[in-house]
């Protein structure tokens, strides 16, 4: 059996390609979405949004990241006209969503979180219906292109109820694209879909961005935000905690931990291992090393070598990625 040595060029790794794509992102300076001091308090007193301000530029992919109930869907609902804001203002390409709602909404496409479709309609009819709602003349060629792009053309005469969950999700995207929107909201677009479909959707979204469409997506998959977005906004308890360039944010958040179960308990960490900033458990049996997954070197090889030289032996090791919950805790903690 032969072993092939792989030489990885740093500029051709997926992460490097992604970062290069971000640098050449077609986003321009035109603000497509402007949210100012937006708040929402529901009738039962629940404060879903608290003084949120945000700007998203044309051609940008912006991911709104947050746990369930953080306020992501409320934010999208207000922009799209489904929920009434308590205070604040929203403009889409300069059009106020209340005073000039027709102009604002005609620019927006919305893919909701739930698989809400009219089960008894044909795929092609319900897609054409969405276009008509936006006041546009029928355009069979465009509808065909949208359905082909989303691999639904073969199913155009099927009733919606006959589609699989993944197909329904794609149909919702097709409906949102039927009127050629300039701003596309994707609310948890890949929730509950398989990996292959998820990657297909990412490709679709990138293709839209290439055409100048501004994409705002919500997700609680950090991987998705990392893969797709130019910028990420983190929302928690209705507050926009931070908005940052994706590459920078991932560098800050994307850490992993290597846990070593020691053969013999340690009283203290040897001096020669100080540079690794290791954590030692109270009972002295576990060493934890936290490292940056986006760094050029993780330092694991050097650490293992230095452990050996220091005479520290271990019986087991495992790695663990920082969970989204931990990331949120770190972001909302006073120390952060």
């Amino acid at each position: 059996m032969t072993r092939t040595q792989l030489t990885v060029n740093p500029t051709t790794t997926p992460a490097a390609q992604r970062d290069a794509a971000r640098e050449t992102s077609p986003a321009d300076d035109r603000v497509m979405l402007s949210i100012e001091h937006l708040s929402k308090v529901y009738a039962d007193g629940f404060k879903a949004l608290d003084d949120v301000s945000l700007e998203v530029r044309r051609g940008e992919i912006f991911a709104l990241l947050g746990p369930n109930g953080a306020g992501k869907t409320t934010l999208i609902g207000i922009v799209c006209g489904l929920i009434t804001a308590s205070s604040g203002s929203v403009r889409v390409d300069g059009h106020d969503i209340v005073r000039n709602y027709r102009a604002a909404r005609s620019l927006i496409g919305l893919v909701p979180q739930e698989l809400t479709t009219d089960a008894f309609e044909k795929v092609i009819d319900t897609t054409a219906f969405s276009r008509g709602l936006f006041g546009l003349a029928p355009n069979p060629a465009h509808i065909e292109k949208v359905l082909r792009d989303l691999s639904l053309w073969d199913k155009r005469n099927s009733r919606v109820r006959e589609l699989s969950g993944g197909m329904k999700r794609r149909l919702l995207i097709a409906k949102a694209l039927a009127h050629e929107p300039e701003v596309l909201f994707l609310d948890e677009p890949t929730a509950g879909v398989d990996v292959e479909l998820r990657r297909d959707m990412w490709l679709q979204v990138r293709a839209l961005r290439e055409r100048g469409v501004t994409v705002i997506l919500t997700t609680h998959y950090i991987e998705e935000a990392e893969e797709m977005a130019d910028r990420i906004g983190v929302i928690n308890h209705g507050e926009l905690i931070l908005v940052q360039n994706t590459t920078e944010l991932m560098r800050r958040l994307g850490s992993k931990q290597l846990t070593l179960q020691l053969n013999e308990p340690l009283q203290q960490i040897p001096e020669m291992l100080a540079e690794y900033e290791l954590e030692l458990s109270e009972d002295g049996h576990t060493l934890i090393y936290t490292y940056d997954t986006h760094g050029e070197r993780t330092g694991i090889t050097a650490l293992l070598s230095d452990l050996s030289r220091a005479g520290v032996r271990f019986t087991d090791l495992r790695t663990r990625e920082t969970s989204l919950e931990e990331i949120f805790v770190s972001l909302v903690s006073p120390q952060s």
Binding site: Y42, A43, C80, G81, L82, I83, T84, Y101, R102, A103, R105, S106, I108, L110, P112, E114, T116, T117, D118, A119, F120, F129, S130, G132, L133, F134, G135, L136, A137, K175
Partner: protein, 253 residues
């Protein structure tokens, strides 16, 4: 005005009717035929003429009104309730469509269906009894105004209801009893004076009476009163719908 959206919603709603043609068309034809067999041929043969027309002919306007009211309310309430139930209402609310355009499309489609059913009922009735319409223009006006008014009522019901049970509540427990007690099968002067007075509180009496006047030139109450009641229904319905969209009641949290 986004007329294309109005047309899109209207045609979408109408297509539902044609998709369920048997239920939409055959059911009212069958129901009307049964009414005529029972009340027209079996019982009606033993009842003397009423207001100069046979009993079978006498009940025709009331039967059409019964169909018109129940169909208007059912069609409109289901039309707007179903997108709420299935969640597809998001598409309507996020589109560049005004509340007036939404109402125009949904109520227009519901009223159209109800009028079609009314005309089918009329055509079916004419197969059983000889019919003449004294004031065809007024007949058409009553048909359209009543269908629109009660479609508005149905639209409000569809917004208010949060279950299919509530959706069926008003047509079954309000509209049908009021129509049966509204002079569909009898003339008010057949009732004792006390019940005649009580009946005048029933708004459907005015609708049936006005509609019957357009057929035979005579009714239980004056045609002006009938028109006034239709107008009141229309104004109340429009006001309620205006308030619903202004407040976002059951539509926008």
């Amino acid at each position: 005005m986004n007329l294309r959206a109005v047309q899109t919603i209207y045609l979408f709603e109408m297509s539902r009717t044609f998709r369920t043609l048997l239920q939409s068309i055959l059911a009212p034809v069958l129901t009307t035929s049964l009414y005529f067999v029972v009340f027209g041929a079996a019982i009606g043969a033993r009842i003397p003429e009423m207001g100069g027309v046979s009993y079978g002919a006498f009940i025709v306007p009331g039967l059409i009104m019964l169909m018109l009211l129940t169909q208007s309310v059912s069609n409109a309430s289901f039309g707007i309730y179903f997108p709420r139930f299935s969640g597809t209402i998001y598409e309507l609310l996020s589109a560049p469509v005004s509340s007036f355009e939404l109402v125009l499309a949904f109520v227009g489609a519901a009223a159209t269906k109800a009028i079609l059913i009314g005309l089918i009922t009329l055509a079916t009735a004419s197969a059983f009894v000889p019919l003449e319409i004294a004031h065809p223009v007024w007949m058409a006006a009553f048909l359209v105004l009543t269908a629109v008014s009660f479609s508005l009522l149905g639209f409000i019901l569809g917004i208010w209801a949060d279950s299919f049970e509530k959706l069926g509540f008003v047509p079954l427990l309000v509209i049908t009893p009021l129509t049966f007690l509204g002079g569909t099968f009898y003339s008010l002067d057949m009732l004792p004076p006390f019940w005649q007075t009580v009946s005048l509180v029933n708004p459907v009496v005015y609708l049936v009476s006005g509609f019957r006047w357009s057929f035979y030139g005579a009714g239980d109450v004056s045609v002006v009163a009938s028109l006034a009641v239709v107008a009141i229904f229309l104004v109340v319905g429009l006001t309620a719908v205006w308030w619903i969209f202004r407040s976002g009641y059951r539509l926008k949290p």
